[in-house]
């Protein structure tokens, strides 16, 4: 079976800040990593491969250095990786990203299952997965917390999709797309063999000319949305800290605040 995992290289968002005076992003020293949610997608694909045999292919669209992220997942056991990279793809919003990735996936062809993370930690949109599914016209299950069964014979997958108040159990025909949340599995660490493979791996780069896409549909030009401003979130007001308060006093203080909010 053929499993395609979409992974994105993201900055470690916990370290990204806005300069409060200049309203610009401070990125010095912010390390890049594989989007945390995508690791669950990688792990699940590897588990399927171990069970049913086949091939796991990782795809990432991004600048040349996103190759590093692809090497990281090869070290986990991914068989091969493709980097989708071109200046023409720069500035893509989720619409253009989904279009470009779906064109790459079409080119890979004959896939059984596409896996994406629930959302990317930089944009937090959760839009690219469903977007890819729509461009490819295949069924999707989002926020998958558990795979009950993948049945290659019947060509179906049964999953549990996470909702606010519970889970939806769904059965989808293959090929389809699932987006993954953390509960699904425990991503493995790279193995020694994997690390060797990652070092040696040839990672082909597909550019604009390799994909069947129009220039007006990709990158900034193909993006309906435009970011017009970035700014720091409103600062929280300085809070009160009670350091040497007896427990009963502390309890009263909290209760007073809750009463003031009309809760008690």
């Amino acid at each position: 079976m053929k499993f395609i995992v979409c992974i994105k290289q993201v900055p470690d968002t916990t370290e990204v800040r806005v300069d409060p005076e200049k309203n610009t992003l401070i990125r010095e020293g912010v390390p890049a990593m594989v989007n945390p949610f995508d690791l669950y997608a990688v792990e699940e694909a590897l588990l399927f491969k171990e069970k049913f045999s086949g091939e796991v292919i990782a795809v990432s669209m991004g600048p040349p250095q996103a190759e590093q992220a692809l090497r990281e997942v090869i070290s986990m056991g991914v068989d091969r990786a493709i980097l989708i990279s071109d200046v023409k793809f720069a500035g893509a919003d989720t619409w253009a990203t989904a279009l470009t990735l779906s064109a790459a996936i079409r080119k890979i062809a004959d896939y059984d299952l596409i896996l994406t993370g629930k959302q990317a930690a930089d944009g937090d949109t959760a839009q690219v997965g469903p977007g890819i599914a729509e461009f490819l016209d295949i069924p999707q299950a989002t926020f998958v917390r558990k795979v009950e069964e993948l049945d290659p014979g019947a060509r179906v997958i049964r999953v549990q999709s996470m909702w606010e108040e519970g889970s939806e159990r769904l059965e989808l025909p293959l090929p389809c797309l699932i987006s993954t949340v953390k509960e699904l599995n425990e991503p493995r660490l790279p193995s020694l063999r994997g690390k060797m493979a990652a070092k040696k791996a040839e990672i082909p780069v597909w550019t604009f000319d390799d994909l069947d896409v129009k220039e007006s549909d990709v990158g900034l030009q193909g993006s309906p949305t435009q970011v017009i401003k970035v700014f720091p979130p409103p600062a929280r007001e300085e809070g009160e800290l009670f350091a040497d308060t007896e427990p009963d006093e502390a309890a009263k203080i909290i209760a007073d605040r809750l009463s003031a909010k009309g809760l008690i």
Partner: protein, 399 residues
């Protein structure tokens, strides 16, 4: 198209280099260059002291005429026949936008899909001028394929200017597929909506990079301007809206769904739904033992709130993942967030720092949670929380 550098003006002062979130600016052989990692976000433009940087306007080749698109639509989300509160919040927001657009009158339409929805006219009271109710057995529960097909068809026929949905599990699964079908721009999980009255554009503000950055996004040349909006952020109307509006029932045909629904399993506790709660009481590793979650539960029950957990507590197997708050869990913004024995690691903070009011109890005075807390108590939760529970019971006159 691209980032233009006026090399005659550029003094090579390097001020712009650290401002680039993607590290795309470098100096090579005495010249400032833009690398291909540039996303044209424009962060560097205001930094340049001599205005040598400029993002060139892009030629976009979409053949639509925005003036043909009018009206604000809200996706009315229903589950098991009940219209969800997030939809009433969106209608409140839509009315405010409609007043600002006001040329001459911008109607607000609620789009409802289902078959046995209780009292669709509630949507009129909540702010809609009109309800389009697409009624079909196949639509009684959410299915992304039939829902996106029906809505995309309505959009193409009736051309709304703006289309809003809640950033719930349903909204986020659905809107992206619709946006692709109708070739529209979509902004996720907005926390602010406004109108640029001059250009008649929806200004959509949302947190990105785990809440460390806010971004304002517009969609100049595609319609509708689509956004999902974070629940609990917008306010429903305080007074019922009185309109002479009607509920129009529409039918839908040839609905197919390749995804087979098997069953819905409600979470095992009544404390699961942290996304909807006004109050969340969260326990972290400081609880030391799974059975101590009963302390959290008791407090949450007393306050009518939901139970949250840090990742450490979830990973230790003390409580189910659906309770996890933070970067790899859920983002919440309740009115009150009470963190007990939670250190406040940045990955936790990004999931809760937009809460209205934060109370924290931790025995470590240097715990980072205190940086965001409105009220911080340095103390042992096993002493403070039982006292708090009895204090509340006393004040409420129970127990």
């Amino acid at each position: 198209m691209g980032l233009k550098i006026d090399h005659d003006a550029c003094t090579l002062c390097e001020e712009c280099i650290p401002s680039c979130p993607f590290g795309s600016l470098e100096i090579h052989s005495g010249r400032l260059v833009v690398l291909e990692t540039c996303t044209l976000c424009g962060a560097c433009v205001p930094v340049c002291p001599v205005n040598a940087l400029e993002v060139e306007e892009v030629e976009r080749s979409v053949g639509i005429d925005p003036s043909q698109w009018r009206g604000i639509w809200v996706f009315a989300e229903q589950r098991r026949g009940e219209i969800q509160s997030c939809s009433f919040e969106l209608l409140g927001a839509a009315r405010a936008l409609s007043e600002k657009l006001n040329v001459p009158v911008t109607a607000v339409t609620a789009v409802l899909l289902g078959s046995d929805v209780r009292d669709p006219a509630q949507l009129l009271k909540a702010g809609a001028d009109e309800v389009l109710y697409v009624k079909n057995e196949e639509l009684s529960r959410f299915g992304v394929e039939p829902y996106s097909k029906v809505i995309a068809r309505l959009i193409t026929e009736r051309k709304p200017e703006i289309f809003l949905g809640a950033a719930t599990f349903i909204g986020r699964s659905l809107f992206s597929r619709i946006a692709v079908k109708v070739q529209a721009g979509l902004t996720a999980d907005c926390t602010g909506l406004d109108i640029d009255t001059e250009k008649r554009l929806l200004r959509q503000t949302r947190p990105a990079f785990g809440g460390n950055i806010m971004a304002t996004i517009v969609c100049p040349e595609h319609r509708p301007q689509m956004a999902t909006v974070r629940p609990k952020v917008m306010k429903p109307l305080a007074e019922p809206y009185s309109s002479s509006g009607t509920v129009t029932e529409l039918s839908a045909d040839s609905l197919t769904n390749r995804v087979k629904f098997l069953e819905f399993v409600l979470d095992d506790t009544s404390h699961a739904n942290i996304s909807e709660a006004d109050i969340i009481v969260t326990g972290g590793r400081g609880l030391q033992d799974p059975k101590n979650f009963s302390l959290i539960q008791e407090l949450a029950d007393l306050l009518g709130g939901a139970v949250g957990a840090s990742r450490s507590a979830v990973d230790a197997g003390w409580i189910n993942y659906s309770h996890q708050v933070g970067q790899t869990g859920r983002t919440v913004s309740p009115k009150i967030y009470i963190a007990l024995g939670v250190s406040g690691a940045i990955q936790h903070l990004v999931g809760m720092q937009s809460s209205d009011y934060i109370i924290a109890v931790n025995k470590d005075p240097n715990a980072p949670i205190f940086k965001v807390a409105d009220v911080g108590i340095v103390g042992d939760l096993f002493e403070v929380v039982p006292q708090l529970v009895s204090e509340i019971k006393q004040r409420k006159g129970v127990g």
